[in-house]
Amino acid sequence: MPRFEYAPAPESRAVVDIASSYGLFIDGEFVESASGGSLKTINPATEESLADVAVADESDVDRAVRAARRAQEKVWGPMPGAERAKYLFRIARLLAERSREFAVLEVLDNGKPIREARDVDVPTAAAHFFYYAGWADKLDHAGFGPSPRPHGVAGQVIPWNFPLLMLAWKIAPALATGNTVVLKPAETTPLTALLFADLLRQAELPPGVVNIVTGAGATGAAVVAHPGVDKVAFTGSTAVGKRIAKEIAGTRKHATLELGGKAANIVFDDAPIDQAIEGIVNGIFFNQGQVCCAGSRLLVQESVAEEVVERLKARLGTLRVGDPMDKNTDVGAINSAAQLARITDLTKAGEEEGAVRWTADCALPEQGFWFAPTVFTDVSAAHRIAREEIFGPVLSVLTFRTPAEAVAKANNTPYGLSAGIWTEKGSRILSMADKLRAGVVWANTFNRFDPTSPFGGYKESGYGREGGRHGLASYLIEGSTR
């Protein structure tokens, strides 16, 4: 029994109303799906059913794309940027005003801790709209020549790990540049997107500018494949990203792909050790490790490896795993049974291949999908847990002797989304940053996100950037290179 037992500090569920069923949001209103099909979305922390959500088929997607096209040609495209901007500012403000509601709903649907939904997901989503709002009437100055043009209709497919934040990353730049949107939320986390539709009602956004079609993989595929979609933006697995790239080959559809990762978090012997430990923890246990840029491979200099691992384990002993609605929870639920199975499978492979497993000793709830924070040591570069994206709270620890070896090991992956460097030596940071093949390099920090900061990968982690001025490029004809 700990001396300082934090009493339960549950966030109130009452701040959000969840309907028993949801239709598709097309042309400014909720409509039934053509097929009448639906899926259940559940709370992964309890497995309780939250709502029935309509499944859009090809005809529904077609309706949505047509609505988006009409809105783009008649309303949103011709609208002066300054007016578009004001809608986006409205959205940003409304998100901030309703932040608690969005945060709670995100927790219920996703399983992430309320602390993260409240302090990261929702405010960053609002900030993203606020940032891109200001671009809408300044596109002439964005470096793409005078009067850069939108592609038209953007088909956007987003993942379940940051449902609202990924929605913001997709919708904000698309609308700022004059595109209209057909967005497909993830199968397991549609609710905040549907609440966002209600927010659009309050913003009085013209019908058809944003359409939200829920469903599973087939719905996303229909969005991507629809000939009326000019621009595809996808965040998700590399496997699906490859399928999308293949699907649109030869069609001249433009694409942004934000795919998987297996980031190296490199700790040198002169690192600011306590902050490095925090960075390692934040790197792999933030959002239960269900982050494409997670620092899932810890590369630690051999001379300090033992000390770093010991300190890390001690720190993990203070992580609080459990009810995502509790304000003191650090690690919440895994998003789905399928994801839990994948994590379990890969960690099993790690043990079978000879890595040494350490799992935090904590009681896990009986209902719901849970995985205790886990660290593998004695991991070799050949192990599956060192190569494959686990997308869970599982850290693989490898060691290195020299900076060159650290670079070689860090880059030894088909992915290239992010990397971390921990050292007090400035020139080493800059040299390492140059050599790491990753789209985001965090030096003496990790997992920082900002609307002004471009995010996206090298190699099989995808292409295109989201955030910052660069995030405008792929939504503009003049800025698109692919």
């Binding site: 700990p2 600011p272 609080r320």
Partner: protein, 354 residues
């Protein structure tokens, strides 16, 4: 849905010890020779020269300021409610060094402060008492007499507090007076000028000398070493000064005099908690931490307790190892305590002024 579950027992030798092993001998019970031996063991050589100390202190891992601030801010988001809050409020009271350090202090003021410490909540015997009252050296006798057998300690600031700008003999005489007058605890200041100019050995020697004076009493006075972190300017310096003070024999390391802004901050306290945690892992000696100055609300105090709990470990959740140097904090804690008891928000007329 079960409560959030704290992860299991600590397994590391590097960090938080189990609560069983933590309360070994008090650091103040070490002889000067033991302190020196511990220091030599930490540095890896008996060479406690200026150069030796510099090599060690400057070889400590750096502190990234932004990361440290971020960690502190995150600890500050813990939500401590109901039973946890009640427990934390009482613990806070028991950790307070109720302080008056004014040029205008009088015997009457000090007696009033002691009375407040003896009876923080009139009519509520369950209310704990502060750990100590903290006064200038010339008020120790007054405080000692007023305290009687209540068990509250008398802490005295000494060594030409707050600046420390006096010769060593004067600083030692100041200390000796307070110890002779019956101070249980001495809060000394380090020579920040010496520290900032790299004269680590001077700082070390000062502390050793003051500690010797503390041990002249029958029952050694516990030594708190004030780093005055607001003048040290960087977190790297806070870490170095923490280690230097511990090597020299501090029983507590304390943030501030309260006369310099910024005084105690949560990030600085976190860094000092990391230092005592690591010192324990290295030497087996558990040193205390005392943030002082600027902690005025129960809400702030609880953030510090969360930091103690999660950074150093629960072994430090004890007045022997963690103190708050504060004056107005006590009344805010009492207001919160009343609120928890009655359910109604209280007001300043319902707590006593000291």
């Amino acid at each position: 849905m079960p409560d959030a579950t704290r992860l299991g027992a600590m397994t590391s030798t590097v960090t938080t010890p189990s609560s069983e092993s933590a309360h070994g001998p008090h650091p103040a019970d070490r002889t000067g020779a033991q302190v020196a031996a511990d220091a030599a063991a930490v540095i890896g050589t008996a060479d406690l020269s200026e150069a030796g100390l510099r090599r060690f202190l400057q070889g400590l891992p750096g502190v990234d300021r932004v990361g440290a601030d971020g960690r502190a801010a995150q600890l500050g988001t813990r939500s401590i409610k109901t039973s946890a809050k009640a427990w934390a409020l009482d613990l806070t009271i028991s950790m307070i060094d109720l302080t008056t350090l004014e040029g205008a202090d009088t015997a009457g003021k000090v007696r009033s402060l002691v009375a407040k410490a003896r009876t923080p909540e009139p009519g509520d015997a369950t209310c704990p008492r502060p750990a100590a009252v903290c006064v200038y050296g010339d008020m120790v006798t007054v405080a000692r007499d007023a305290i009687g057998t209540s068990g509250i300690n008398v802490a005295a600031v000494a060594t030409a507090f707050p600046s420390g700008r006096a010769g060593r003999e004067v600083r030692l005489a100041d200390t000796r007076d307070a110890v002779a007058a019956g101070a249980d605890e001495i809060d000394m200041v380090i020579d920040r000028g010496a520290f900032l100019s790299g004269h680590y050995r001077k700082v070390y020697d000062d502390i050793v000398a003051v500690r010797e004076v503390c041990h002249e009493a029958d029952r050694p006075a516990h030594l708190k070493v004030i780093l005055e972190t607001g003048e040290l300017a960087t977190y790297d310096n806070v870490r170095r000064a923490s280690w230097l003070a511990m090597l020299a024999g501090a029983d507590f390391i304390k943030t501030s005099t309260g006369k310099v802004s910024p005084a105690a901050t949560l990030p600085v306290t976190v860094i000092m908690l990391e230092a005592v945690r690591d010192f324990l892992a290295t030497t087996g000696v558990q040193i205390g931490v005392k943030p002082a100055g600027g902690i005025r609300t129960a809400k702030d105090a609880i953030k510090y307790l969360v930091a103690v709990n999660e950074v150093a470990g629960e072994a430090w959740l004890d007045p022997d190892y963690f103190r708050f140097g504060a004056s107005s904090l006590l009344n805010d804690v009492l207001l919160q305590r009343q609120k928890l008891a009655t359910g109604a928000y209280s007001g300043p007329d319902y707590v006593t002024i000291d």
